[in-house]
Symmetry: C2
Subunit: 226 residues, 2 copies
């Protein structure tokens, strides 16, 4: 009998970072469950991208959780009355979704307990990121403490490790790493306001980061722009 | 003009503890938003109790968030294939819902950011509790660190304080405190498998804690038993 593999929950948004993160979890030899969220984000094609990626990486199960977080308002990604900026600006941008990563990780934690996973993979990144507070290493460290204390597994001494393999990578390095691991970036969507078919605006923060990442990595981006 | 009151998000399950917690937040002089969750728990009458309490305390808004957490399985409170124990037992009981408080607090945090709240009130209790890891003071302390690091407010130096006024109270002390503040405990539901009208089984862990609490406090419990 084959030895049983360890299990990971991978947060999969359908973008460049989470796709690379899933590829890393697989190359780390883990059996993966993929978790995506439908939280009323403008870009539905992100979820289609997540579905494609989950299939091509043969995850054990891909769950798309419907979140009411969009209802709470406060972000340009879920609230149509707030405009998505077309230029870079200082500070935390209006595309920030309140407590998003905290909510996402909470769900991943719940599923990790049920599936007896040993790790949660999340593609947060503190270099070429959009200035969101919940992408910083000190935030992840604090969440790891909560994970250790919150769970039955933690009480029983079995740690569920938060894995953030991309946290110190530039966008170009993420793209290089993903390319090495065979990620098909044509299947990923980054744009905050992509069309249903995945074509991107080319102007939002996320499009700018992606485009510059591919340029810096000297790799071709197959993204279709509107 | 009246000075503007500070705002609190109060987690309101509809039980004795959260009802008392809401009464405390009001007596602390805060304007309250109440947050409840529909996560496929067996006891729907809990949510009706929450609605009644939110109305009688004139909260600014009461939101019931639909959570997919029940779908993830793993708890006797959401998974009908797991039996609710009728007797007390050692360890973490099967009624434990994985990562429940972490998910609840994440949502409260998102709403707190949007509403610019200065506090989140949660009626967790580390004395007469059911042995859940996410009710312990060390857990709450770790979550406060996450709250400080996760948010735009935190980055800007405005703390959202996690208030756990009941954490060191026995169930009897909670009932005494609530009674002093005029809580109508007839409007609360504790039973894990209460009927739609709120009548309780009298046998589950939560019923036992409630019954003993009223006995110890020498106060009458208006609960109807099946």
């Amino acid at each position: 009998m084959m030895p049983k593999k360890n299990i990971a929950i991978v947060l999969l948004s359908g973008g460049v970072d989470s796709a690379t993160c899933l590829a890393i979890a697989k190359s780390d030899g883990l059996d993966c469950f993929a978790l995506s969220f439908d939280y009323g984000q403008r870009s539905r094609s992100e979820l289609n991208a997540a579905k494609k990626l989950a299939e091509s990486y043969e995850v054990l199960e891909h769950k798309i959780i419907h979140l009411d977080i969009g209802q709470l308002g406060g972000s340009a990604l879920t609230d149509l009355s707030i405009e998505i900026p077309k230029e870079e600006a200082a500070g935390i941008p209006p595309t920030y979704v309140p407590a998003r990563n905290t909510v996402f990780i909470s769900y991943a934690l719940a599923w990790a307990e049920v599936k007896k996973a040993s790790a949660i993979y999340i593609g947060v990144n503190a270099v070429d990121y959009s200035g969101y507070p919940d992408c910083r290493p000190e935030y992840i460290k604090a969440v790891q403490d909560v994970v250790n204390l919150a769970t039955k597994a933690g009480v029983e001494g079995k740690q569920i490790k938060l894995e953030t393999p991309l946290i110190n990578y530039t966008k170009a390095q993420i793209i290089e790493k993903g390319t090495q691991l065979g990620v098909n970036f044509a299947d990923t969507v980054s744009c905050y306001q992509a069309d249903f078919d995945g074509s991107a605006c080319g102007k939002c923060d996320s499009c700018r980061l992606r485009r510059n990442g591919f340029l810096d990595a000297s790799l071709e981006d197959m993204t279709t722009y509107k």
